[in-house]
Amino acid sequence: MKTIVKTAVALGMPLAALPAVAALNVFACEQEWAALAQELAGDKASIYSATTALQDAHRVEARPSLIARVRSADLVICAGAELEVGWLPLLLTQSGNAKIQPGSPGYLEASQFVPKLEIPKVVDRALGDVHPSGNPHVHLDPRNIGRVAEVLTERLVQLDPASADTYKSRGNSFRERWRVAISRWEQQASPLKDVPVVVYHKDMSYFINWARMKEAGSLEPKPGLPPTPAHLAELVEQMKRNPAKVIVYSAYNSARAAEFLSERAKIPSVMLPFTVGGTDKAKDLFGLFDDTIGRLLEVVK
């Protein structure tokens, strides 16, 4: 009898694991959008991030656990611009959830609402894993966070009108705090102007553009392809002629290639959080920029 009860309880487990009854279930593809949704919705939403700062959003498995989360989502917010093309379409079609299909209010691609950089003139896979709509890593320009915050607030209001006042006041408060923070960061980041930087992947372009740094090369020979010894050797040579001041890589990259170049070219390398959770200090979006600028200033000064 006891065994039967235990089995029944075990079988009932999936039902007990039903998501908590917050008004809105938000599924974010990346940590930065989960953090933004958290700022704007507070406890009105239950927020799930599909990836952590230690994952490369290009390469994610369409795991059963992700399909299960999309199944119950009221809003899916992702970077877009083909960043999640290898896994998100599967989650959407497998979920049996009409609310979050592209074109519905429950589907939001952040990159659609910001001016994109690096839109290729020529689209050819021989150039690496290029994104025809432009560089998708838009969140590292803090002004883009502000732009997406506006759109996201509108969506939250549209999807959950009962809590409209909360979303609006949280939205206003966030945007005001964000505006002040941007002014502060612009001042703090002024020594970074014109500093040449070597990146790992082209995931720092929006930050580089905002801080008016100069990209002097990338460890990947072509976007999306892992660093090769031949390409690194070429970079060492290039650094002899035109030395960069800093080599950066993201929390989800291996440090090996950056350290190799750093030793040979005598240029400091620094790991950047890239998104919320990438370092201890990058606890939220404010911390993300504080820490990114702080880490760069430490080596650039």
Binding site: P14, A62, S65, T93, P102
Partner: protein, 432 residues
Amino acid sequence: MHGKAIIALAVAAALGLSHAATAQTQDELKSLREQVRQLDRRVADAEQAAIQASSRPAGENAMNPAVSVILNGIYSNLFQDPNAFRINGFVPTLGEVGPGVRGLSLGESELALAANIDHHFRGTLIASISSEDSIGVEEGYIQTLSLSYGFTVKAGRFFSAVGYQNQIHAHAWDFTDAPLANKVFLGNQLGEDGVQLKWVAPTDLYFDLGLELGRGRQFPAGPAGGRNKNGVGSGNVFTHVGGDFGTGTAWQTGLSYLSTSPQDRAFDDPAGTTNSFTGQSRLWVLDGILKWAPNFNPTYTNFKLQGEYFRRKEDGDLTSGTSAKTGGFASVQSGWYLQGVYQFVPMWRVGYRYDRLNSGTASFSAPLNPADFPILAPYSPTKHTLMADWSPSEFSRVRLQFASDKSRSDVTDHQVFLQYIVSLGAHGAHKF
């Protein structure tokens, strides 16, 4: 004296006030300048955005579906004659179960088109072009987008959700060929014309339930192409449970049950006669998959473990081509495989697969003579397969594979394959 003091005080007060006023104006000016500066940058950005927007493609072909092409070519070195290939102990399935031709050959090329049809449906067509210049519809289906509550309906031709590997396109397989169990129980790969209804539970633990009703156009149904009758020729029910362990391991396990009533399902015995079966065929498949990558980041290293267990019961009437007699036939057969694939550095993977089949029990009742069915004589085939592949990008792969295949009871076939598989065009998404 008194007056002077008052004047001095007044002047001082006025000065102080004007000083405060100046400071206030300066603050305002500063913030205004800041706002203008920010506006300036926004205008510049807006201009840039406008330029970008204007460069987007326009015209009739802007609505083209996502197109992708899979090309693959292979060099095969086979110790035994592939034309004499058979899997002893099991009914030939008439599928593409053999190891292919010897020497250099073009594998199957695939052309895939997919797009949302409207807000209700998505359509997919995958045509395969064989190296013998014939075109086949591998999959061609529509799928609902707008049903809610976790329901999706698929209709058309699609790979049946029986087991795990069956639903995966050959170009995404981890080995050059299908496991022996898929060859003998599903004729390599079962594509069905029919309807699939699937429901995903609203739980954090993934759980789905599905039902497929099909024409029964391929083995284990029969005859090939489907029976000449109204209604349904095959049914499949399936369920999956899946989730994560910790922050690096994802798992899924599934159970499916495929039931068909083949009629005059013919097979040629190696002796040259044609036998046929009419009766019931029921297949159970239990599958499991586990994928590991540190922090779910498969870029540098990852590991994949996959296995399936098949068990089939058939009973009905068998007609012998040798004696032209019909009698009762029943069998219970099983098979399984287990494979592991490890990416040890970026771009490089190695894998091993073990296959085993059990021809189990077969009973022939009078007037049938078991000796008239030499291929069904009890035998348990096994196979060892080793592979290494190199993927310089997400879109290309070169693979070397060795196999020691004991599908035939009398000889061991040593097989070497060198293969390339590439994809052009739209970036496909791969199932878990």
